[in-house]
């Protein structure tokens, strides 16, 4: 058998169901690769090989391997709580914590028979675009080890692009699935807000957080989406509606026929008069992808969404505000780190010391920002105003979707940048989210699909659709993927060889 880590999910399903291989073999192949590569890549924070192999053997014994996702190894961003398995959200403050319960999506993947390889690295509490804000280690981009893998789901992107896992889950608050997928040549989808359970996802910004798949192909992503999606009574914001038919859409899109589909290119995201900060190579690849869509029969037009320019400031008020409250529970009393409890200090001091030492600088920056924005006398000017901007962005989407079926833009204005290049410039770091923020604020689904290389590094095309029309994202993404031929990550394998 050829290298099992080179196979995508669909190929693994075939190999498993035909009996060519077993879940144990597939799992061991990935564990071996993790052992060989992860010292360099730094994709994982926690791997329990023994548990994974035990689980794989169970699935093999049950005879289910190859049915659905049964027997397929997966990686989870460390933001998902997993019963008995260390969960840190990339922070020192949760070091050593083993949750007593599992996130709904983790449970659904487990119930489907997947094998958990491990927990992947991330920016602390999902705050960042490069994974450099991890309290534990930086993660390297498999395409260029001196560059960032995107963030905050950079451990997941590096793991899947680097073939240390066939698929992974990430979370996306302002672009944290799409941007790392884009800069590592993966497909990453942020589902409609409320369509995938947030129960057991350590909250960064509750009104924005969504879990979603990261994979090397569109169909792989859809297969995972189908398993994790759907109503969860434990999440009040979860939508009680059937999961969109994403697998079917991915298959249909791969046929390459987009006749009659109306595609809007968002002017404000890299179009006329809005090109500052965008790599020329990124814009070229995106333009080529749009041309491919047109070639597939889509009707393409430019669409203006004037409020999108306000997304960045609105996001950086809303997300830190909610985070300042969500992170208040990390006070060192009931789980994770506790600092300074030597009997001489009172509770306020112990809480302060714990938070001082347990949180990294970016997390503190956002807690302070959010605390300020929610303060009496400032609420209306900041949080209240940002919510109004959110409404405006929503209206732009609604108006646009009157005329077109999907909107497209670059996923990230640039390709992966060198590690360390933006760490001292938070605003430059924040600008990486420029294209992904509008869909986050409006709660609409958006996918990033690879559309070629610029300077040898992957570029992603973002496809946005109306709420609950996630299937459109998959259909268009699959058409782009089909038009480009083999998955982009195949080139990474060729290059390595």
């Amino acid at each position: 058998m050829s290298d099992l880590t080179a196979l995508n999910v669909v190929e693994l399903q075939q190999a498993l169901s035909s009996g060519e291989t077993t879940s144990v073999e597939v799992t061991r192949a990935h564990l071996d690769r993790i052992a060989a590569e992860d010292g360099t890549l730094g994709a994982y924070l926690h791997v329990d090989g023994e548990a994974a192999l035990r689980r794989a053997a169970e699935v093999d014994a049950s005879g289910a391997a190859g049915t659905g996702l049964a027997g397929i190894p997966v990686a989870l961003k460390d933001v998902f709580v997993t019963e008995g398995v260390p969960t840190t959200s990339g922070s020192r403050i949760l070091e050593g914590w083993r949750p007593p319960y599992s996130a709904t999506v983790a449970q659904r993947l487990a119930d489907a028979g997947t094998v958990l390889l491990g927990k992947t690295n991330m920016d602390e509490f999902a705050m960042g675009s490069s994974t450099e804000n991890s309290a534990y280690r930086p993660t390297r981009n498999p395409w260029d080890h001196d560059r960032i893998p995107g963030g905050s789901s950079g451990g997941s992107s590096a793991a899947v692009a680097g073939r240390l896992a066939p698929v992974a889950l990430g979370t996306d608050t302002g672009g944290s699935i799409r941007q790392p997928a884009a800069v590592t040549g993966l497909v990453g989808h942020k589902p409609t807000y409320g369509s995938v359970s947030r129960y057991g996802l350590i909250a960064f910004s509750s009104s924005l957080d969504q879990a979603g798949p990261m994979a090397r192909t569109v169909l792989d992503a859809a297969l995972v989406h189908e398993v994790i999606g759907g109503h969860d009574p434990r999440d009040s914001t979860s939508i009680d509606a059937p999961v969109p038919t994403v697998v079917e859409a991915a298959r249909r899109g791969a046929g390459g026929d987009l006749a009659g589909l109306r595609v809007g290119v968002v002017r404000e995201l890299g179009g006329d008069g809005a090109r500052e900060g965008y790599d020329a190579g990124v814009l070229e690849r995106v333009a080529e992808a749009v041309a491919l869509l047109e070639g597939a029969g889509a009707e393409v037009r430019e669409v203006s969404c004037p409020s999108f320019g306000l997304a960045l400031p609105a996001y950086y008020l809303i997300a830190p505000s909610e985070a300042s409250s969500n992170l208040a529970r990390f006070e060192g009393m009931r789980f994770g780190l506790r600092v300074g409890d030597d009997g001489s200090r009172d509770i306020d001091e112990v809480m302060a010391l714990t938070r001082e030492q347990g949180f990294g600088p970016e997390v503190k920056r956002r807690i302070i920002l959010g605390t300020y924005a929610l303060s009496a006398g400032y609420y209306d000017a900041y949080y209240g105003q940002a919510q109004k901007v959110r409404t405006l962005i929503n209206r732009d989407f609604l108006a646009a979707f009157d005329d077109v079926d999907v909107l497209v833009s670059p996923t990230s204005p640039t390709v992966a940048w060198p590690i360390g290049a933006r760490v001292d410039d938070p605003l430059a770091m924040y600008a990486a989210d420029l294209c992904t923020l509008p869909a986050s604020l409006a709660g609409v689904p958006a996918i990033s699909v690879p559309c070629g290389l610029s300077e040898g590094l992957p570029v992603g095309l973002q496809v946005m659709a109306p709420a609950l029309a996630d299937d459109r994202c998959y259909r268009v993404a699959a058409a782009v993927e089909a038009a480009l031929g083999a998955p982009l990550t195949d080139r990474l394998g060729e290059r390595a060889a």
């Binding site: 909250a203 009104s207 914001t237 909610e322 208040a328 009931r334």
Partner: protein
């Protein structure tokens, strides 16, 4: 739990009547009621009181990372019913909000509450004090979650200051809590303390009638914060208020207001300024002392709870709930008063004695209203008083009291015997009829036994018989007495007299 003690420093107080000559009090009440739902506000944990610490918890009410709340529909319904009973407007759209602050008993670092979009607003509750009606306006009724309970170990006060360490019990964390906030109540004057008490009493009874909570102040399922301020008589502006916490009984509500009025008057008299602060009430001395002033500086940074969807109670459902409300205490009192033909004052006595429900149940079990009242306000009230317990705590049921009145009415026992029957019932010897049997307490009818006693009395006092026969009929009393004594009070005096008359005259 922890015994609270007043601080040693004693405050200067103005005589209560004196306060009223110079100042007008304004009161306000914030009442927290733990709802009697099966499960907690945002998770499925049990709400049973008194379980081992931290046994009724889960990731949600412990605020573990990743957990999310789901609102308890039964709690929302109870809150709306309370709002309806208080004549509130039920908001067609309302939201939860996060109240952010750090304290060890709030696991999430914020309390999920309601802020500017409460479920119920603009209601009122009329209370009566000494025949006069006072309208207490209700500003809002909102739904939130209770905190955990801190146990401060070591230190003299049982409070956090000076404690060696603290333990937290999260069983209470997340229990649905309804907060009922009044608007300021001016104009009660000298009656302010009693109006405050009457308000809490009436509110408690309404919530009990709704079955929304067991409203037990001693267990903390009804907790009260009492706001008090004073303004010079005739002043257009109200004074600075204090908020007194730890007010754990109806009597304490009254005492707390009274104490704060006297204390604040002394401060103002001395040219001082009343501090806006939280104060603690001390049951033992009836005084208040300052709480942590730090609380005033807290900015709670309220914002809409993004983890919960807005509450949008359907208008039809609200109407259905309104139509399904039980008869409320005030209406019930009016109805019963009319049915029983009582004066307002008589009714007030009955209510104040805590006997209304008992009398009603006794009547329902077959007693006449007059008999039921006579027993509960008379003999039973005496027994309760002697035992130092509430009427309702006596080991006798309204049905047993009704049976007792029936036994008297049908002549099986007389009043004196009835009291002995009651002794038996209270001693756990069973229902009145069984006690009568077991103790042999029935009035002796015109039996051979009684005939023999009558004959013996006649035979034993020929001189008296002679007097009676000579026309001095009142002398018969001595013979009746002798028979009663011989039968140890178990005979009916009228029967005895008739039998004597038949034999002697």
């Amino acid at each position: 739990m922890s015994e609270t003690r007043s601080e040693t420093r004693s405050e200067t107080l103005v005589d209560f009547d004196d306060v009223l000559t110079r100042y007008e009090p304004v009161i306000g009440l914030e009442t927290h009621v733990e709802l009697g739902t099966e499960s907690k506000m945002f998770c499925g944990c049990s709400t049973t009181f008194g379980a081992e610490p931290n046994t009724q918890t889960c990731p949600v009410c412990l605020g573990l990372p990743g957990s999310l709340p789901v609102a308890n529909a039964a709690a929302v319904e109870s809150t709306i019913r309370i709002g309806l009973a208080l004549g509130c407007r039920i908001a067609p759209w309302s939201r939860f909000a996060r109240k952010n602050y750090f304290y060890p008993d709030i696991p999430k670092g914020f309390q999920t509450s309601q802020y500017d979009e409460p479920l119920c607003t603009a209601g009122h509750l009329d209370v009566e004090v000494d025949g006069e009606t006072y309208r207490v306006e209700i500003e809002r009724v909102h739904l939130e979650e209770d905190t955990g309970k801190n146990l401060h170990v070591g230190g003299a006060t049982g409070r956090i200051h000076g404690a060696d360490h603290s333990l937290v019990d999260f069983n209470r964390a997340g229990i649905p809590l309804v907060e009922i906030v009044t608007r300021p109540v001016p104009g009660a004057g000298a009656k302010a303390p009693e109006v405050a008490r009457a308000y809490v009493t009436e509110l408690r009874e309404i919530i009990q009638t709704l079955g929304a909570s067991d409203v037990r102040m001693e267990q903390g399922s009804l907790r009260c914060d009492v706001n008090t301020s004073l303004a010079p008589v005739g002043s257009l502006e109200w004074g600075t208020r204090t908020e007194t916490k730890n007010v754990n009984s109806l009597r304490s509500v009254e005492r707390a207001v009274r104490y704060e009025m006297r204390r604040q008057a002394a401060v103002l008299d001395a040219g001082g300024r009343v501090l806006q602060e939280t104060r603690h009430f001390h049951e033992d001395t009836g005084s208040t002392s300052p709480g942590r002033s730090k609380e005033e500086a807290t900015d709670y940074r309220y914002f809409p709870e993004p983890d919960l969807v807005p509450l949008a109670p359907d208008a039809e459902w609200v109407e259905k709930l309104a139509a399904g409300l039980p008869e409320l205490p005030a209406a019930r009192r009016t109805r019963l008063r009319e049915e029983w033909g009582l004066s307002v004052t008589e009714m007030t006595w009955l209510v104040n004695a805590g006997a209304l429900g008992l009398v009603e149940q006794t009547v329902a079990a077959g007693a006449s209203p007059a008999d039921a009242r006579k027993w509960w306000l008379g003999e039973l009230a005496r027994r309760a008083n002697d035992a130092g317990v509430e009427l309702a705590e006596l080991a006798v049921t309204p049905a047993q009291v009704a049976e007792l009145t029936v036994l008297v009415a049908e002549g099986t026992v007389n009043d004196k015997l009835a009291r002995q029957v009651l002794d038996g019932v209270l001693a756990g010897e069973g229902d009145p009829r069984s006690v009568v049997q077991a103790r042999g307490l029935a009035v002796l009818g015109e039996s051979d036994e009684l005939g023999a006693a009558v004959d013996a009395a006649i035979a034993g006092a020929p001189d008296v018989v002679a007097k009676v026969q000579a026309g001095k009929v009142q002398a018969l009393g001595a013979l009746v007495g002798a028979v009663m004594k011989a039968t140890r009070g178990q005979a009916d005096a009228a029967t005895v007299r008739r039998m004597l008359e038949e034999r002697v005259l």
